[in-house]
């Protein structure tokens, strides 16, 4: 027998975006059904690097990122856990004069968004971060950026939504979705049918299928950022580190493990990915170069995840251009963890009020030239 659920809003995908959207929709009093194929927060949202970082984002993301920043500040109140979130600061290193210039330029451009960036160089830099030695000329610090434990925070959003009355179904893949009159109809095998006035497509790297079902093809590709973590080490690093121009990034958690990222893993199939040996070894080499404290340390685990990337590396966020009541949010291109809750809140706002103060124009789904 097929179970039927009627609700205001149905959500496909229980990552940090879908989970937070469910939470904010429930707070606004709508009935919500969240369908998750795997476990909520087990995909990209639960396996990412854990960087909660605004610094370095394209300017068009900063309003959403600021909105998310405010939500991150209220985690215990919203989720009942701090999920090991720390506002440690995010320090982006400059290894050359050119890098430093581009950090300064970013600070100029992003003024007015409230990041509070500080450029720190020379003596002052070495005094504040002796552990970084002279491997950088200086850096740009965003004092209120930080990091969190993605394994804890991402499932917590869906759980908080469920506690407020959202229907959250895990191990429940949406295999078919269509619009029937003014209702979206979602089918999971023969077991479940959900009917809803609104549909949120927050299916991460797998969002393309939902978008295509409504005639909105998007050039979304899956890529797999490569991660490694060391055994616990005495604390030497209290800020989340990035490097201008990319490459390796790292943070040390309070328990002492150093998490580093860089390079790409590979896909086993559409749903699973593995770290790639060359990427892992290169990452280890680069990490040891950046942090000599790792010289005698061991990597105890490597992993990656499946993340949707767009050609311009900006996400798709906002209303469907073909189907009223449908909203998309995917394609975060490796940077959706920090911004995720802000996007969830914005989706809830769009559903409940039909509008949002967030500038979503750059994230329109139809911005990509049609592919042949």
């Amino acid at each position: 027998m097929r179970e039927r659920i009627e609700c205001d809003a149905a959500i496909v995908g229980g990552g940090i975006v879908g989970g937070s959207a469910a939470l904010f929709l429930r707070q606004a009093g709508l009935s919500v059904t969240l369908l998750e194929r795997d476990w909520c927060g087990a995909k990209a949202s639960g396996v990412n690097f854990g960087g909660v970082r605004r610094q370095g984002r394209p300017l068009e993301q900063l309003p959403l990122s600021q909105r998310a920043h405010a939500i991150w500040g209220r985690l215990p109140e919203l989720l009942g856990t701090d999920a090991e979130y720390i506002r440690s600061g995010h320090l982006k290193l400059a290894r050359s004069e050119t890098d430093l210039e581009s950090l300064i330029a970013y600070r100029e451009r992003s003024q007015g968004f409230g990041l509070g960036l500080e450029i720190i160089t020379g003596e002052e830099f070495r005094r504040r971060w002796p552990a970084l030695g002279d491997r950088a000329l200086g850096g740009s610090l965003c004092p209120e950026d930080g990091h969190a434990n993605p394994r804890l925070v991402s499932p917590a959003f869906a759980r908080a939504a469920a506690a407020l009355g959202a229907v959250v179904r895990e191990q429940t893949p949406v295999d078919r979705v269509e619009k029937d009159g003014d209702r979206f109809v979602l089918l999971s095998g023969d077991a479940l049918e959900v009917r809803a006035r609104f549909l949120l497509n927050t299916a991460g790297a797998w969002s393309r299928r939902v978008a295509e079902a409504f005639g909105e093809p998007v050039p979304l590709e899956s890529l797999h950022p490569n991660m490694a973590v060391t055994e616990p080490l005495p604390r030497f690093l209290d800020v989340n580190i990035g490097v201008e121009g990319g490459g390796v990034y790292g943070r040390q958690v309070p328990r002492g493990n150093v998490v580093v990222g860089g390079g790409r893993g590979f896909a086993l199939d559409a749903d699973r990915a593995r770290p790639q040996r060359d990427a892992v070894l290169t990452l280890m080499r680069d990490a040891a170069e950046l942090f000599p404290q790792l010289r005698h340390a061991h990597v105890i685990r490597c992993w990656t995840g499946v993340e949707g990337y767009t050609p311009d590396r900006n996400p798709v966020i906002g209303p469907s251009r073909t189907t009223p009541g449908l909203f998309h949010a995917f394609g975060f291109s490796g940077a959706g963890f920090q911004i995720g809750p802000g996007v969830g809140q914005t989706l809830a706002e769009l559903v409940t009020t039909g509008e949002t103060p967030m500038p979503l124009e750059p994230f329109r789904i139809d911005r990509f030239p049609p592919t042949a």
Binding site: G46, L152, P155, R159, P275, R277, R295, H298, V299
Partner: protein, 461 residues
Amino acid sequence: MSEVLPPVIVGAGPAGIRAAERLVAAGLRPVVVDEAARWGGQIYRQPPDGGFTRPKTALYGFEAGKADAVHRAMAAIRDRIDYRPRTLVWNCEDGALDLLCDGASETLPFSHMILATGATDRVLPFPGWTLPGVFTLGGSQVALKFQGCAVGRRVAFLGTGPLLYLVAYQYLKAGVEVAGVFDTTPFAAQARATTGMLRDPATLAKGLLFVGWLRAHGVPIHNGIRPVRAEGTERVEALVWRDARGQERRTGCDAVAFGLGLRSETQLADLAGCRFRFDEADRAWLPERDGAGRSSVPGVYLAGDGSGISGADAAELAGERAALGLLEDLGRPVDGKRVKELDGRLARIAAFRRSLSAAFPFPADWADAIADDTMICRCEGVTAGAVREIARSGQAREMNRAKALTRAGMGRCQGRMCSATTAELLSRTLGTGPDGVGRLRAQPPIKPLPVSAGAERREVA
């Protein structure tokens, strides 16, 4: 093109050595990789170089003849194989293995590979199990065999399985005081299962001899017990246990040797993409293999205790059998009579194994008795209560979620020491069978990998 790569064997225990011997006999030159400095594997582990003098009869007892035969088999093919001792295989990816030797990483492509990775002790936690002086049974035997050391002056032997009596016996023979054998299996169960063990009278006789010898030397043997705790602050001072009637008792000792049978080292099979199934007898997820040791992945073969606990004799046979399967798949002629013989002997051992695991059943109720504040994950310090809570609250219904949320299995050992416990705790809290909570996915590196290996890459030889 696949023929040009030499076959690779991981593990130079009885399974790996017999596999290599068979491949050499067919004119191939296999690569044999083993983390240990010398060949022999676990049971036939050889002492290090450096002046050890005990003869094999002292080291291996009744098995000295077999040990010697296995060691000689390897010595005889030594210059016809590419032997890589002190080399850890830390990853398997896309038709190649990643090796770590002397701090440098090297990638070794293969078309055909035999995994003969063996087993280590299976354990469940009890309060005090992380105290200095509590060692695994296998570890206690390694100390004796490999280092000429006892783990204490007065040692309590705790757990179940044939190794329990064997190691207690070996300690006694080495002149160490044995404080007692504390067997979790009720006496009646063992007696019943003995009937089945008559299939292998020699092994049964050995077992009875160990027990008889221990009794004759005044060693108390307690059946049907459960551990309560190991006492001590900086090291073990006593084992507190509950006897079969539920009475709490205390035995003074300065070491506890502890194990509940063995668990297979399956990480590489997992990384190689082999399909797993739940095995009732081993109460564990094991890579599937056919009679010849073929896994579900073409070119990947499994032999010995690494893909299901069958003991040393079976490991030798299975190693040879896997090599024959591999040769057959390469289109080489194989001796059909030998194949039949091996299959027959392996089948007989399998039947015997079943009665052995009936004789020493896994004490599944132990998991219920683990107090919430007992540490189950030695690496990350996770408690039983944390795992139960995550299951009870509906946050985790399988192993990998439990790991993500509690860190059980996330530390240096990659769940080798805690995943049996986590599986029991989860499945019993959720009311599923032991097969109902899945298994931990293996992740590279399967053992800690020095960060410095990133800069020390060796090109393929």
